[in-house]
Amino acid sequence: MNEKPRVAIFDLTSCEGCQLQIVNLEEDILNLVNVVDVVEWREGISDQSEEYDIAIIEGSVSRPEDAERVKKIRERAKILIAMGACACIGGVNKLKNPLDLHEVAKTVYGDRADAPHLHSEKVRAIDEVVKVDYKIPGCPIDNREFARVIKSLLVGAEPSLPNYPVCVECKKAGNVCRYELGEICLGPITRAGCGARCPSYGMWCFGCRGPAEDANTDAAREVMQRYGKTKEDLEQKMSLFGTH
């Protein structure tokens, strides 16, 4: 490769935890900047650029100006990647969507709720605003998966994500099923790729990576009874990442 691809990283409504995961690549971040030219990254560098081979967006669209910004990034980017649950599926930001937005603002900001810079609208994932070429899901992302996607693009391979449920990785990790422990786990209907991180550390799956392809949510609802739970219990769990 003669010229290094120009990569830019942007953030919208998010906790910036996914970008932190990139920083957490540690020595691999040096390998990364060896093979790409990071031309814009608020969290890492101060430069700005007009054109990107790869633009990466963390966060969801929650203000009118966000949508405009995303459209501009799209215009300048050959490849656009949505990074993290907020960008890929809206994430926890979408929790407010079914509620009265003004009430939500008052709850959060109190007296200052009407300040113009706090005005927000219903939250959208990036692909609800512009075409997204690839997604790196998760809250936060798995930085090994991030590295894999970037390396795939650099060698000209199509980046692919597992489309099967988390159970695959959970079983491979030799974990005890969270259902056996009396919990509701979203692993059977959530896209794998995280290495079943939550169940491996003693929590149920929160569904942050969005649904697996062909996720059988009907079966998930029906199976609740077998474990002494209700469909509503399940749906409450599914609402966190607004995915199912």
Binding site: M1, D28, N31, L32, N34, V35, R148, K151, S152, L154, V155, G156, A157, E158, S160, N163, Y164, P165, C167, V168, C170, K171, K172, G174, N175, V176, C177, Y179, E180, G187, P188, I189, A212, E213, D214, A215, N216, D218, A219, A220, E222, V223, R226
Partner: protein, 627 residues
Amino acid sequence: MSVVRLTEGALQAWVERLIAKQRVIGVQAKDDHFVYDDLKRAGDLRLDHDVTLLPPVRFLLPVSEELMTYDQKGYESVRDDEPFILLGVHPYDLVAIHQMDKVFAQGHLDPHYMERRAHSTIIACDVETPSKNCFAGEMGTATVQDGFDVLLTRIDGAYLAESGTVKGDELLKLAGEDAQAATTMDLDRRARVQELNRQALRKHHLNCSPEDLPKLLAASWDDPAWKERSEQCFSCGSCNMVCGTCYCFDVHDDVNWDLESGTRTRECDGCLLTDFAKVAGGHNFRHRMERYRHRFMRKGLYMPERFGFVACCGCGRCVSACVPNIANPVDMYNCLLENHPEFATRRETVEEAPERDPYLPESATVLKVERLTELETFYEIKLDSGRPLGHEPGQFVEVSLLGIGEAPISICSAPNDKGTFEMVIRKAGSVTEALARLKPGDKIGIRGPMGTSFPVHGAGLHKDIVLIAGGLGCPPLRSVIQYFFSHRSDFGHLTILYGMRQPSDLLFGDEMKEFEKQPGVTVLYTVDHPDESWKGTVGPVTKLLPMVQFDANTEIFVCGPPVMYRFVIADLNKMGVSNDHIWVSLERRMKCGVGKCGHCQMNGLYVCQEGPVFAYSQIQDVPEALS
């Protein structure tokens, strides 16, 4: 048979000596469950475990293992030759390991598995605590007479240790004077423990004998229970991942940050997962119900047909792992028995790992690249070793690209004197997209030739040949056409029926024109969507069939998209052509090409081994063949 008695203290001391000698992977507690893990102290060993979360075979066929590394110079096989002891293996898991020994030794020996296996020592132990879902007693795997290096059995506060191999003898020598010869009474007690286990490990009752399962399953293809139960299936593969006899795998490349070197890794895969039988281009040969059924069919019918054993050791792990509780084989088989009440009623030494690694590609160079259409590109390839590929018309190769992966591709040329071969590749997935960017001089990896070929040799009796090609089915048949011309006097008339979506899809148009001019050759075309210039036939390829004369000896070779076969064969049958004379080339996801990974299986057949070319009579009763 040498059996010794070890007190509990002596056993502990012996295990400590084993740990000092080599890597010991023993059963240990993990919260309320048990796992195999590196044993650091004899005190951590839990021979009283009920069942482990994952089966011990995962140390012989790890969930993920590097098959090879690569750099710009080529590929290098990765082998794991560290000796280790598996300690605490229950009899049913030992049976599963011996089944895997057969699987990986049959046909193409798998050096990765075999080498690890050759370096393993298995210390089995009879079950002390039956697990809640174990049905080994039903499967005849609750106890074993052989197959272990050492077998431990707990009797009245002590352990009996029997050596089954020379390796076992060596290990037991480490017990030194602690080991006392077992008395007749000890052996009687052990026999009683084993008899009790054969009874106790029956938490689920199978209403037939395991030997009846192949017949039962063969008769149950259309049972309504498949659909009904599969509606609850998450396609999560949990049943596969915890199974001691599930060994299917997928292979992927991981590139290093230098973007030039990397690894090729295989990872456990599961036939319950959505993409398991999906081919490049998107066609999925099995949906939820078919995937659900396949697992039972494979365990109870296809594996017995191929290897001679029911591939279920009765460990019950799948029963515990399945959240909707639909994975229990005994439940399923009993349910099928309701509709078929009429069915209700050891081991070889492990072979040495071979030198050759069948997964390792050999380096080859792209000599020529020619864009044929928007999607299809033609390549001429030569192996760098200079050896001719040695293929027959209809065979395929696995084509590797460093860091991107591997894809099965048909060879579109007949064997020639130049030692080169040719392929046409359609952009349909990651590997083929990347292949489309190749230039002359670029290096690729090749494995093969693989699979069966069209019966051109058997056709040496001046038989007429009819080729029926649909779209990308043309290139594999081109190898037959070339063969036909280079052995012209062996054959009678050649007819080529070539159907395509639109005129611009025509492959090898100039060559076809040349073929047409030859005596005794007819070429007929049809398109689905004509353009203004098209003056020929419009419609499916079956429309051309009435223009052909078939006699009783005509051989018909068919290659095209899955949907084409049924219609073509139905029409041929109507015209009186027998299924022995219809040869089809089938497409499946042939990931490994050596009959191991499981992806290309249709019912009991592996397309990469028994196919891709089949006489239709071979597969007419195979339900998954043309589905």
